[in-house]
């Protein structure tokens, strides 16, 4: 089953680039014989390019030329061009790219209304073509940032389009939220306008905050340079590293952070691609983690951040991995799930970890976590046999937890600061199709969402007493 990523905008494409690179690295590590298998087919087509780029797909047998199943969309050419000139150039062909020249000027309305309208046909056509090559399309991924114009505006336009054209295919969105110090002044406007779309059209959203990624990068830096680590760190195991991938040019500033997101997506899809004793598909993730349609924001954490070179892993270290997954500093947004309310939690384990390890750790950690009254045992678990590159095991935790609330509240506050003064509004309102009501509806949608989380926090989710069961006449 295929997962189809759409990288939209500058951030989306930079992350996307890391993603494809690390995906190839992961499959190369597992697939020693060069055979095109079921696992590879979820992200790549196998094309016979001997007679040119338009060769037929080869469904079995030896790998000829791997092409990523993806659409790369940007309204500026810089990032996409770089990809096409870099080591990944053969992985994409021109039919998967949609680019323009002038960018969206960090304006959601330009991305959503102008470019959306202009490129609609083009996007639909390329989407259909890409989908045709997939024998079973399971889900779409949109990778974008919320604060700019293209990723945010055109990205959410694509989200709408996907719902219209393929209503049954799940829509996952990985959204990078702007920080308070974001240098794009209008990022709160762009983000809130985009949030409304995410509220209404996404099945699952994985919010990411740059601050968290940055902190993780620093933490790793410190650990390595402090010399506290007894043995050498395996370079390719670092959640931030590109070691062993195709990328040979020196790392760009955001590469380390983007690698984290790329690893998130790889881990998320690992159980759908590789075998294991308890498979976890993407459909299962949205089924189990979204108890009410609008509460679909999932906080993610990845552990371990790196592996040491020594091979033997005592179960103490394995248990540490589980503990870390719940700690504040491993979350990919500024949030503390341990001190907020869980609606649901998923644990996707990779590598040599068995069900008893999983259960032992759930039992151990449960008492310190607060679960909603109607889901006291709300755990979704998956065991995938194949670990990530450089690791013997790893864990991805996804939490539907009220700890997302502060992120949304801050976003709302930053929005209101600008909106009250009507700062920069004219840049948006002068765009065809944009009205004041777009803003008021968007902030209203966000407020309602925050209110739902407040409600949950207040009531812990349910009646104080257990609802009485149905009575049967004896």
């Amino acid at each position: 089953a295929v997962s189809l990523p759409f990288a939209v905008g500058q951030c989306g494409n930079q992350v996307g680039c890391r993603f494809w690179d690390l995906a190839l690295r992961e499959h190369a590590a597992v697939n020693k014989k060069g055979i095109y298998d079921e696992a590879l087919s979820s992200f790549f087509r196998n094309v016979d390019t001997r007679s040119g780029d338009n060769g037929p797909d080869i469904y079995k047998g030896k790998i000829c030329s791997l092409k990523a199943r993806a659409l790369l969309i940007d309204m500026e050419e810089g990032v996409v061009n770089e990809i096409l000139q870099g080591p990944l150039r053969d992985v994409f062909d021109s039919k998967q790219l949609i680019t323009d020249v002038s960018g969206s000027g960090n304006n959601w309305a330009v991305g959503h209304k102008i470019y959306g309208c202009q490129y609609r046909e083009n996007i639909v056509e390329k989407l259909r073509k890409t989908a045709e090559h997939c024998d079973c399309l399971q889900c779409f991924f949109i990778i974008h940032s919320m604060g700019g114009g293209t990723g945010s505006g055109l990205g959410t336009f694509v989200l709408n389009l996907l719902e219209e054209e393929f209503p049954e295919v799940h829509r996952f969105v990985t959204s990078v939220y702007p920080s308070g110090e974001d240098d794009v002044i209008t990022s709160p406007y762009n983000s809130v306008l985009a949030m409304k779309e995410l509220n209404e059209h996404a099945d699952c959203v994985l919010p990411i905050e740059n601050e968290s990624l940055f902190e993780i990068v620093n933490k790793i830096h410190q650990m390595i340079s402090s010399g506290k680590l007894g043995s050498t760190v395996k370079q390719n195991s670092l959640v931030t590293s590109s070691a062993g991938s195709a990328k040979t040019v020196p790392e760009k500033p955001f590469d380390a952070m983007n690698n984290i997101i790329a690893n998130l997506l790889l881990n998320l899809t690992s159980s759908a691609r590789f075998e294991g004793s308890l498979n976890m598909d993407l459909n299962e993730i949205s089924m189990n983690l979204v108890p009410f349609p609008r509460l679909h924001y999932l906080v993610s954490s990845l552990t371990p951040l790196y592996t040491l070179a020594d091979v033997n892993v005592p179960s103490r270290r394995l248990d540490q991995m589980f503990s870390d997954a719940f700690s504040r500093d491993h979350q990919l947004i500024q949030a503390d799930p341990k001190h907020s309310l869980y609606l649901a939690c998923a644990l996707l384990v990779r590598g040599n970890v068995q069900v008893s390890d999983l259960r032992r750790n759930i039992e151990r950690l449960k008492p310190s976590l607060h679960f909603v009254s109607w889901n006291q045992e709300g755990w979704k678990t998956g065991l995938c046999s194949v670990p990530p590159v450089g690791h013997s095991h790893s864990l991805l935790a996804l939490a539907n937890n009220t700890c997302v609330k502060p992120t949304f509240i801050e976003l709302k506050d930053r929005f209101m600061k600008l909106y009250k003064k009507k700062a920069h509004l004219h840049h948006y309102l002068q765009i065809d199709g944009m009205e004041q009501s777009c803003f008021s509806e968007a902030i209203s949608s966000l407020s309602d969402l925050i209110e739902e989380y407040n409600e949950l926090d207040a009531t812990k989710g349910g009646p104080r007493i257990d609802p009485s069961r149905l009575k049967i006449a004896v």
Binding site: E284, P467, R469, L470, I472
Partner: protein, 450 residues
């Protein structure tokens, strides 16, 4: 008579594979401890029941493999083939790519009808390969989406297509602290639907088997494979050939029918639990000896006290005074009342076993006399390297508490309406849930008032 096994979903296919493996290695083993004739008879009977064999070829399991994603079936097929001792037919599986997403409604309302023809076609072909069809065994979990939802749909189709055949659903109950968040919904939907189309539900609980692995088998890092192998051993101990009591010298020709006849006298009571002793690591087997009186004493107390395994049995629990008919309010606390019990005894000196303690009327409800409520199957042929092995299949209050717990948790979630939108979008409405809850509350009430 032959049994056609239908393996559904990841759990069903993983377990089904271990079962056929266990059956095969048992008949090929040299530990039979009985006469050559007996052994030959046993092998032939097992092969007829579970395998189809052409000439000198490797036996082919009488099985249909169904899953909505391909990875598990691929593995099962490959692993079986590589054993060299048995295999699955290359044309008896059906799979799709997208999975059921742990959604019962998706399995039942979408995949079921869509793939009914293809799946029933495979079943029909497998059934036709049997000289005499003894019935169907389905293997599934009730926590996920395929085994549970599609499994319930397929069971209904089996009932419609084979109205006079026996259908036994082997169901895995998930760990209490979650494998799947919506497992209690899926379980309630599965059990209530199966109650209407199946003959009996034979249950294994992951929590119980896990404890056996930890405490009796001494496994440190327990994997699902370990759990599945214990389950396969327990199922094998029931379904390998045995002589029904009072019958001639031949092995039972109708195992499923015999099972139903002895254990399911009333359609309201279909839930069967399983206990098998002894259980130990293979390495300990050569150093252990058991006596039948010892084994039976433990098994009887496990029945009465509702113990999950042979360690930690509460010996304080006693049946009420024999002879009198006891109103249920006077029954001693924690006493597990039985409707019917079946013992399957395998191994040395089995002919000399005294089964009187299981015929004690105080163990049973008053509807059947103990001679009807209790049955035993025996064979001197040892099973799976155990010199002696005793299995109890019980229609009793074994599963009352776990069932009540599942229904309670599902109801709690239902009251908050959590996750309902995931089911309604595929066609299962709130009223459908209510019907299912009603069915199961009825079952709980019936078992409570034994």
């Amino acid at each position: 008579m032959s049994i056609v096994t239908v393996q559904l979903g990841q759990c069903g296919n993983q377990i089904g594979h271990e079962v056929f493996s266990a059956l095969c290695s048992d008949i090929l083993g040299t530990h039979g401890l009985c006469s050559k004739n007996e052994n030959q008879s046993y092998q032939d009977s097992c092969k007829e029941r579970f395998f189809c064999q052409e000439e000198s070829a490797v036996p082919v399991a009488r099985a249909v493999l169904v899953d909505m994603e391909p990875k598990v079936i691929s593995q099962a097929l490959a692993t079986a083939a590589s054993s060299g001792h048995w295999r699955y037919s290359s044309r008896s599986h059906f799979c799709q790519k997208q999975g059921s997403g742990n959604n019962w409604a998706n399995g039942y309302c979408v995949h079921g009808p869509r793939h009914k023809e293809a799946i029933m076609d495979l079943v029909q072909r497998e059934a036709e390969r049997c000289d005499r069809l003894g019935g169907f065994l389905t293997v599934m979990s009730m926590a996920g989406g395929t085994g549970s939802g599609l499994g319930a749909f397929v069971t209904q189709c089996l009932r419609d297509a084979f109205p006079s055949s026996f259908i036994l659903n082997h169901i895995i109950w998930p760990y209490g602290t979650g494998e799947v968040i919506v497992q209690n919904y899926n379980s309630v939907l599965t059990l209530s639907h199966l109650y209407h189309s199946s003959d009996a539900l034979l249950v294994h609980e992951n929590d119980v088997i896990h404890k056996i692995c930890a405490q009796l088998m001494n496994i440190k890092q327990i994997s699902f494979r370990d759990v599945n192998q214990v389950i396969a051993h327990q199922l094998g101990s029931v379904f390998q050939p045995a002589h029904p009591a009072g019958g001639g010298s031949g092995y039972s020709r109708n195992p499923l029918g015999d099972l139903m006849e002895t254990l399911v006298p009333h359609p309201e009571f279909r839930m069967l639990g399983l206990r098998n002793i002894p259980q130990m690591p293979e390495s300990s087997l050569p150093y252990s000896t058991f006596s039948w009186p010892g084994l039976l004493k433990h098994l009887r107390q496990m029945l009465i006290a509702n113990a999950q395994m042979e360690e930690g049995i509460d010996w304080q629990v006693r049946p009420p005074h024999a002879g009198s008919s006891i109103p249920c309010t006077n029954k001693p606390l924690h006493f597990n009342t039985s409707i019917a019990n079946l013992l399957v005894l395998r191994g040395k000196d089995v002919h000399s076993v005294d089964l009187g303690s299981f015929q004690d009327p105080s163990l049973y409800t008053s509807w059947l006399n103990p001679q009807e409520a209790f049955n035993a199957w025996k064979t001197p042929r040892a099973f799976n390297k155990y010199e002696k092995s005793a299995t109890l299949v019980s229609n009793s209050q074994f599963l009352l508490k776990p069932l009540d717990s599942i229904v309670g948790k599902a109801w709690n979630m239902f009251a908050s309406k959590a996750y309902l939108h995931q089911y309604t979008k595929f066609g299962i409405q709130e009223e459908d849930f209510l019907d299912c809850f009603t069915t199961l509350e009825q079952v709980i009430s019936s078992y409570t008032n034994l």
